[in-house]
């Protein structure tokens, strides 16, 4: 017979997965077409400049850049998110509210916008957002773990499907990238 797990384990497991709630609504578009469309028309389509700066700062903590390795910034993650929002209306309140929440929490703790605080301060706020412990009115409208889940999903998709990341994962690219005859 297997052991029944403890109530605590059960709650923890459920909490970890609860962040996925409603995420089905928010999965985005084909990223290669998205990248091509953004390259052809790089202006913001949905996010305000301030929101874009805030989201870009958050993306840069999900996948940080270093001198040795590019990250979310070089992969244009915030632009991808802007494009996704423009094309997926149900996503818009999540990112608008999430950007407002990040700034509200940053201002309450550090009297500065999220993009202006240190990376360590940003990481601490994102960690609280991930587990639903971030303070602020905005997070009453937008469940912060859902925002975090979608943010990490889009940031990872922007970077890890971008050929600029393949050198660092050793991934040769899938069929259409590795088999030129179908390209």
């Amino acid at each position: 017979m297997i052991q029944a797990i403890t109530r605590r384990q059960f709650v923890e497991t459920t909490l970890r997965t609860a962040a996925l709630s409603a995420a089905a609504l928010y999965l985005g578009p084909n990223l290669i077409r998205t990248r091509a469309a953004i390259a052809a028309d790089p202006g913001l389509k949905f996010l305000t400049p301030e929101e874009a700066v805030t989201i870009a700062a958050a993306c840069a903590r999900i996948i940080p850049s270093s001198p040795a390795e590019p990250g979310a910034t070089e992969a244009g993650a915030a632009g991808v998110i802007d494009f996704v929002c423009a094309n997926t209306p149900p996503l818009r309140p999540l990112y608008r509210g999430g950007a407002a929440g990040l700034n509200e929490t940053a201002k309450a703790l550090h009297q500065k916008a999220f993009a202006k605080i240190t990376p360590a301060e940003q990481d601490a706020i994102l960690a609280s957002v991930q587990v639903g412990k971030a303070a602020g009115k905005a997070w009453k409208q937008i469940p912060s773990p859902v925002f975090f889940f979608v943010l990490q999903l889009h940031t990872k998709s922007a970077y890890y499907t971008n050929p600029l990341s393949f050198k660092f994962t050793g991934y040769p690219g899938i069929y259409h990238q590795s088999h030129k005859r179908h390209g």
């Binding site: 999965l27 990223l31 994102l126 889940f149 393949f166």
Partner: protein, 518 residues
């Protein structure tokens, strides 16, 4: 509203169940129309990145979730081919005991059909789809040879076999619905790692590559972008027609002698519930009250081992090349659920997403080991519970103004305990194979959507009869995974195909005998 000429069969949903019925009925000379809410994508149009398949479920298929729902499902596949476009092609049969969980273990319900009824249909479907595998696995019910030889083990599969061998467990070639040799006019697999996003070569069996072309050739008419909103009854309480909206939002009514629903275990009950009428105020064919109840989803956890030495070749095939079935049937007296351990190789984005809790430098560090990763997931049998269910959301409506599905599906403590046991075993394999460290991803959802219109002999305790015909409305059938009584511990698509094939034979025979409206 435009009324369309009456046909013999109107199928709603072009996944593995619906295309099977459409193909069989068209081949039998019946006039068939298939309504598919999504688009048709030809294999050559499959794109370029592993993210794409998931995108199909996006804003087009809204649903809401009870906050307690564990790992909300994201796997819908709204297109011709349904979820077989991005399935991992594992074609395991049920074990014969999986049909009799109540008799053997006192859980769930017994199926009204068993191994004897279903085995010939497994044979048919394996031959039609083209399944590559190796018979003789002692953990499985006895069977004959597969239509094709098994795929050779990839490098990660060989590593896993080494680990399993040390533990005395049988890491067996997985039966996969992908060509190991040219078959049925389709080429052998090139192991391009694109399975989760749609097969660019057609090597992979799917409703799109196998049943759809046959159905079209036999005269079935597929209408894409057509969303069924309601099944209508005639004054005698028989299904008369399906109302649907096309892409422009225009409303049509397709009359048919028979209506066959195959929209998956979330959207099929949604359509029945949306079709409530004075005769069936709680939802069409829902006199049992079980439409939408007993949703089962196969809880899953991916386990990753970091092995020394980079895997530099023969690693990238997203389909499962090896499987451990030693624990997929519980022994009598043990906890009744079984679990499988299956190998998979994700692309880097999917791998980073599976580790949804990781970010920042921890994610970076994890992904630097990508070429050293070997993955083995545990997937468990969860049992039917009336509290795990699909209802209509009382407030939220989709773009068409129809209530969306509201999903409550909570993994039980027992499910999670079994999953932990399975993951422990997976990590034992990885360690025995030489992994220097192992990780478990957060608990997830397979997208195996099962059970919300279960079959049975008793109309009070089931929605469908053993041939997928609703007890309440004789010319209405449900042929997707909704008809499952219990979910077993194995990937369900082969069984969906076998049951749909059996249902089609019955339906065609009954039609010939004049059982349905003229």
């Amino acid at each position: 509203m435009a009324k369309l000429d009456r046909v013999d069969v109107c199928v709603v949903g072009a996944g593995p169940g619906g295309t099977t019925t459409a193909m069989k009925c068209a081949q039998a000379g019946m006039k068939v129309v298939v309504l598919e809410a999504g688009p048709l994508r030809y294999p050559v149009k499959y794109d370029e990145n592993e993210f794409f398949a998931f995108a199909w479920d996006s804003a087009e298929v809204p649903a809401t979730y009870d906050p307690e729902t564990t790992a909300p499902t994201i796997n819908r596949g709204r297109c011709i081919g349904g979820s077989t476009i991005h399935w991992t092609q594992v074609c395991l049969r049920f074990h014969e005991s999986h049909f009799r969980m109540k008799s053997i273990h006192g859980v769930g319900e017994d199926w009204p059909i068993g191994w004897k009824e279903i085995a010939p249909y497994y044979d048919q479907v394996e031959k039609l789809w083209g399944v590559a595998g190796l018979s003789g696995n002692p953990s499985q019910s006895p069977r004959g040879p597969y239509p094709m030889p098994p795929h050779p083990f990839t490098t990660p599969s060989k590593i896993l076999k080494r680990g399993a061998d040390k533990l005395g467990w049988n890491f067996h070639p997985a039966p996969i619905g992908t060509n190991s040799v040219a078959y049925d006019g389709r080429p052998p697999c090139e192991y391009c790692n694109n399975c989760l996003s749609g097969c660019p070569t057609g090597a992979k069996a799917s409703a799109l590559s196998v049943m759809y072309p046959r159905a079209v050739k036999a005269g079935a008419l597929f209408r894409t972008g057509c969303f069924a909103t309601r099944v209508n009854l005639d004054p005698k309480g028989r299904a008369k027609s399906v109302s649907y909206l096309d892409e422009t939002g225009a409303l049509f009514e397709q009359e048919a002698r028979l209506v066959v629903i195959s929209c998956n275990s979330i959207e099929s009950p949604r359509l029945l519930l949306l079709s409530a009428n004075p005769l069936f105020p709680d939802g069409l064919a829902n006199s049992s009250g079980l439409v939408g109840k007993n949703l089962m989803r196969h809880p899953i956890q991916v386990n990753i081992g970091i092995v020394p030495g980079e895997i530099t070749e023969n690693w990238h095939s997203a389909s499962t090349h090896g499987v451990i079935l030693d624990f997929h049937v519980a022994k009598k007296g043990e906890y009744p659920g079984g679990h499988v351990l299956e190998h998979i190789s994700y692309g880097p984005f999917t791998q980073s997403l599976v580790m949804s809790h990781l970010w920042g430098n921890a994610l970076r560090e994890h992904m630097h080991h990508y070429r050293n990763m070997v993955m083995l997931y545990a997937m468990v049998e969860d049992f039917p519970l009336k509290t795990n269910r699909v209802t209509l959301d009382p407030k939220v409506k989709d773009a068409r103004g129809l209530p969306v599905a509201h999903i409550r599906s909570v993994y039980t403590k027992e499910d999670l305990a079994l999953l932990m046991k399975g993951s422990d075993r997976a990590k034992q394999v990885l360690k025995a194979a030489g992994a220097r460290s192992t990780f478990s991803a957060p608990i997830g959802d397979t997208g195996h959507l099962l059970g919300t219109c279960r079959m049975g002999n008793n109309p009070k305790t089931s929605v469908l009869n053993p041939f997928c015909q609703t007890h309440d409305v004789k010319n209405l059938f449900v042929v997707d995974g909704s008809n499952f009584v219990t979910g077993a511990s194995v990937n369900p698509t082969l069984t969906i195909g076998a049951i749909a094939t059996r249902s089609s034979d019955y339906l065609i025979d009954q039609a010939k005998q004049g059982a349905f409206p003229a």
